[in-house]
């Protein structure tokens, strides 16, 4: 811990000599005094870079469906704990400086999870969860999201039924998800020869403990925390009531729609990149000279050695 602090304070002192920065950092301090102190060169304490993001609404904004007390504990203690523990774990390692999603896939290690995974994934999951809710939420989705729901689940009620089932039957701690799935194999040169929009679909999945659909390369759209700490204070053991209330009064379908759009754009972009790479590959393919069976000049060497 000590060497990191000194480096940080050196950085700070180096910058402060620059009067420009002095003014800037002053503004920074005053406007961000409310923010939790987690930036590197400003505080000089733990410098690992994952922040504790607050939910996009006040802690009592989801009353009476999710009490202020629950949010105080769930965000203030559990989520904060994950952030702090993660920062402690990644400090000084290769995972430090990586984005949260990269940390998650690196520590997932194809299933053989490393210690940082649980904390990293839980940080991501909880951020995602807060943003999936809003005061005065509920209702029904619309637009493209609704179309896809109708296509993949038959109807909105079908989706609700599936989602409730997944959330209720997740035994132990875990999460229920609505995700967007592209049908592709998990190999770098996977190409679906007859790719079409139909291949990409919405799915409802559930995951244990800290696992999330990112590790299966799905695009998560919505989540519900079914760890007991999420609902025990408000609903005690009545998980079904919690799920129903979440779906009726808390879920933010606008956020889900915008995530869907983002996912689709990402997929389109990736496909375009793949096409470009393909095009380059085509051009680079070496054509053998007429009459020459072997590439390059290695053939000559080979023949010489034989003699």
């Amino acid at each position: 811990m000590a060497p990191v602090t000194t480096i940080a304070s050196h950085l700070t002192s180096a910058f402060i000599s620059n009067p420009e920065f002095c003014r800037l950092s002053h503004n920074l301090h005053s406007s961000q005094r409310q923010r939790r102190c987690s930036r590197k060169s400003v505080c000089g304490t733990i410098s690992a870079s994952i922040d504790l993001k607050p939910p996009p609404y006040a802690l009592n904004a989801l009353e009476p469906h999710m009490s202020k007390e629950t949010l105080e504990y769930h965000w203030g203690k559990h989520h904060r704990g994950y952030v702090n523990n993660l920062n402690k774990q990644i400090e000084g390692t290769a995972l430090d400086e990586m984005s949260l999603e990269s940390i998650i896939s690196a520590s997932y290690n194809k299933g053989d999870i490393l210690p940082a995974f649980n904390n990293a994934a839980q940080v991501w999951n909880h951020e995602f969860f807060w943003e999936s809710m809003k005061p005065g939420g509920g209702g029904t989705p619309s637009g493209e999201l609704l179309e896809l729901i109708n296509r993949d689940f038959g109807s909105f009620e079908g989706l609700i039924h599936e989602f409730k089932l997944a959330a209720t039957t997740q035994f132990g701690s875990g999460w229920a998800w609505l995700a967007y799935k592209e049908h592709k194999l998990d190999v770098p040169n996977a190409r679906n020869p007859r790719a079409s929009e139909e291949d990409k679909k919405l799915v409802v999945v559930k995951s244990p403990n800290a696992i999330n659909p990112l590790v299966w390369e799905y695009h998560p759209l919505l989540t519900l925390d079914v760890w007991e700490h999420a609902y025990y204070l408000d609903y005690e053991n009545r998980r079904t009531d919690y799920i129903t209330t979440f779906l009726n009064k808390l879920v933010s379908w606008e956020t889900v729609s915008s995530r869907l759009e983002a996912a689709k754009n990402l997929i389109v972009e990736r496909e375009r990149e793949m096409e470009e790479i393909d095009a380059i590959d085509e051009m680079d393919t070496i054509e053998p000279e007429d009459g020459d069976m072997y590439f390059g000049s290695d053939a000559d060497d080979f023949v010489d050695d034989e003699e």
Partner: protein, 204 residues
């Protein structure tokens, strides 16, 4: 309400009255459906439905019924303090000292991620005591060890009383709730299956 103030009456009302009862009712519903699982005792049922690691749907509820029964019996009002007689001897033999054991137990309980249980088991093959953790509904019965004590680390066990302060829950359990008498009785019973001491072979 006998475990107040360490485990509140409300927790027990919920934990036993709703969770535990729920497991029993679900299990009965499963068993009513057909006669395939007829005639097993609860212990046997657990082993059978565990199916060597590929559990059948009845496993979770059956195991949780057993686990909770075991858990209630692992506690007593006015519990805590130190184990006595042979159990203390065995703990000191296998862990070095009681405080080592307690530290290890606490640490294991706190580092368990997700839902699960922490156990003091007597390992059959190695003929020694050990601390084991299991996730969700798994129990040391399925790998044929003999549990002596358990602590429920599912959040529903402590959330109402301790919220997220797991350390306090575990310490209170060790200080005031754990029933060493029960553990001693279980160990005595276990010794009919596991020979802990050197067998006394007479010389001539």
């Amino acid at each position: 309400d006998a475990l107040e103030p360490y485990m509140s009456k409300r927790t027990l009302e919920l934990h036993w009255g709703e969770h535990h009862r729920g497991y029993v009712e679900s299990l009965n519903k499963y068993l009513e459906k057909d006669d395939i699982l007829y005639g097993y005792t609860l212990d046997e049922l657990i082993r059978v439905t565990y199916n060597n690691g590929n559990p059948l749907p009845e496993y979770n509820v059956a195991a949780q019924v057993w686990n909770h029964d075991f858990f209630w019996e692992s506690m007593q009002p006015g519990g805590g303090n130190l184990p006595i007689l042979g159990l203390l001897q065995q703990i000191e033999k296998d862990f070095g000292s009681f405080s080592n054991f307690r530290e290890e137990f606490t640490e294991t309980a706190l580092t368990l991620f997700g839902s699960g249980w922490v156990w003091l088991v007597l390992k059959r093959n190695e003929k020694r005591l050990a601390i084991a953790t299991t996730t969700n509904a798994v129990t040391p019965l399925v790998w044929d060890d003999i549990p002596l004590l358990s602590l429920d680390m599912w959040e529903h066990a402590y959330y109402l009383d301790y919220k997220n302060d797991k350390a306090r829950y575990v310490n209170v359990f060790m200080d005031h709730l754990v029933s060493w008498n029960a553990a001693l009785a279980r160990m005595a019973r276990a010794q009919s299956f596991v020979n802990l001491g050197e067998p006394k072979i007479p010389v001539a």
